[in-house]
Amino acid sequence: MRWGTVPALCLALAALLAAGPFLPSWAVFMLTVAFAKALVVLGLVIMMRAGLVSFGQGLFYGLGAYAAGLGANFFGLTDAVLLVLLGGAVAAATGFVLGFVMARYREIFFAMLSLALSMILYGILVRSAALGSTDGFNLSPPSFFGLKVGVQQSRVLLYAATVTLAFGCAIALHRFVGSRAGVISQAILTNEIRVEYLGASVTRVLHLVYVIGAAMAGLGGALVALATGHIDPELAYWTTSGEFVFVAILSGTGHVAAPLLGMTIFEAIRSFALQYSPYTWQMVVGLSMLAVILFLPSGLWSVFSRKRPGDAT
């Protein structure tokens, strides 16, 4: 890329923020959800760079959403920013505790164990009548820095907050990828025993990466909860987690901007598929995915990273 990543991301952020008030409300909503989910995928991409493919990000996504929902409805917290931070903090704390166990697992075992954990949360949520069981519950509308705003402004403000957070995290994680722990995590993917021989602690780095993934998923979950105004156990179901892995692979793990782009495209495909062929939207999504896997083996981002076939990888 000719441009530095950080200026390019800042420019894209400024453009999206400036466009916010002029976008039609369906686009604002779609983009809010897309960037909120992109946060989850961003965390997942960071984990995948270390070789951890989680089929259970729904655990932290659901936790973040329910933490925000409980904060809003049962503890009287209404500020959107606080609720989002609460969601991220709860998920990160859970991730920190679980990380002691999870950092010992790799590959398919890691994937399966994280799937099991997310399904336990799903089971608990479905059976807890106080939280609305399978129906979930609606959130009271949030306020922004103590201000009560109308529905339309609230949407635009939430959009702005989501976009800012998504790009802020992307920039932060871009720095992380280049940091010591970030570089080690890529070495772990190649050969972790050699990393241990070289004197770095594999477990500690993986633990850190796991907590990052958890925190990002928690933030995303809380944002989605605020954007849709409704939460239900489906957020923790395995299909939700599967979708995140889906988008992570579709985007490619080569760059932190890839998940942002990938999730937006995914949400757009899904929204239009839902609108124009409501009975076959899953088929459209599935076929698009197959097409990407077949024709763009390293994800959508490979279109932008100008690597000629002869280049060394």
Partner: protein, 298 residues
């Protein structure tokens, strides 16, 4: 006492269909290293094909007993055809790609098949209870149980026995074990691994569809039945060790009994007891009860 027999019978019923379905999944993984999410679609396809075939068969005032044959033929043929088409058409070009990519390919297939099923059969539920009712009920310790459930148990044990015999006592089975053990060396020794893959995937798909077909008379066949089956079959295979027939049997037994215990003694935990067991087993033995730990590569 009544409760105990109820738990045992419910547990074994649950075990029967879980085992049939999971065996297909675990075989596919063992040989091909593909965690086949589309397995749930095979299950749903089998259930739909069986219930609509039974419906069509019974319209013509044919003897009800023949419905069992119809059920088997419908389940096996739909599994074989769809399995063959997917393996040859879609998976074959993908071999050699990353395991996770193959999971996503099957996930895409699953999404597509979900809608294909809706397009073909519509969204209204199908019922085909005649084979279930025909066998009547038997009474054990004062509770009446459907005899169909016991027939299902017999079928599961028969399939398990057949799989064990085929793998350990036939030439082809031993070749397959060799492929499971080391794909590369098997190729070098002249085993046609490509053909083995096709055969395994078709057998896996047939088992999934058969699981759906034999369950169809006992349930209402509606959209979405495949989704839950996948995670359950994953849980069973992972508990037993992915790729192990004995493991699938033990895993299905553990999951079946755990669920039956929960349903009768502590219904609130019914949904997640299975995953709690799975997490507990993974925490102690990541490779599952019968799995072999992979050597670490230096």
């Amino acid at each position: 006492m009544q409760k105990l027999s109820a738990i045992l019978v419910d547990g074994t019923t649950y075990f029967s269909w879980l085992f049939i379905v999971s065996l297909g999944l675990t075989l596919t993984y063992g040989v091909m290293k593909i965690l086949n999410i589309a397995h749930g679609s095979f299950y749903a396809l089998g259930a739909y094909a069986a219930s609509s075939a039974i419906g069509a068969y019974l319209v013509g005032a044919n003897p009800v007993a023949g419905a069992y044959l119809v059920l088997f033929i419908a389940g096996i043929s739909v599994g074989a055809v769809s399995g063959f088409l997917i393996e040859r058409g879609l998976l074959r070009p993908m071999y050699g790609r990353d395991e996770i990519i193959l999971v996503l390919v099957t996930y895409s297939v699953f999404l597509v098949l979900e809608d294909v099923i809706k397009l073909v059969w519509g969204v209204d539920p199908y019922f085909a209870p005649q084979p279930y009712e025909l066998l009547g009920r038997v009474s054990i310790a004062g509770i009446a149980f459907a005899a169909y459930d016991f027939a299902l148990l017999a079928l599961a044990l028969l399939i398990g026995g057949l799989a064990f015999w085929a793998l350990n006592y036939t030439r082809r089975g031993k070749l397959l074990l060799a492929v499971i053990h080391d794909r590369e060396i098997s190729t070098a020794m002249g085993i046609n691994v490509g053909r083995m893959f096709t055969a395994t995937f078709v057998i896996g798909a047939v088992l999934g569809a058969l699981g759906g077909a034999v369950t169809a008379p006992a349930i209402s066949v509606a959209p979405g039945i495949g989704v839950d089956v996948i995670v359950l079959a994953f849980a069973v295979s992972v508990i037993g060790g992915l790729g192990s027939v004995e493991g699938a049997m033990l895993g299905a037994l553990i999951v079946g009994l755990a669920r039956a215990l929960a349903v009768h003694l502590w219904p609130e935990v019914e949904l997640f007891v299975i995953y709690a067991v799975m997490a507990a087993v993974l925490a102690v033995r990541p490779q599952g009860l019968f799995g072999r730990a992979a050597a670490r590569k230096i």
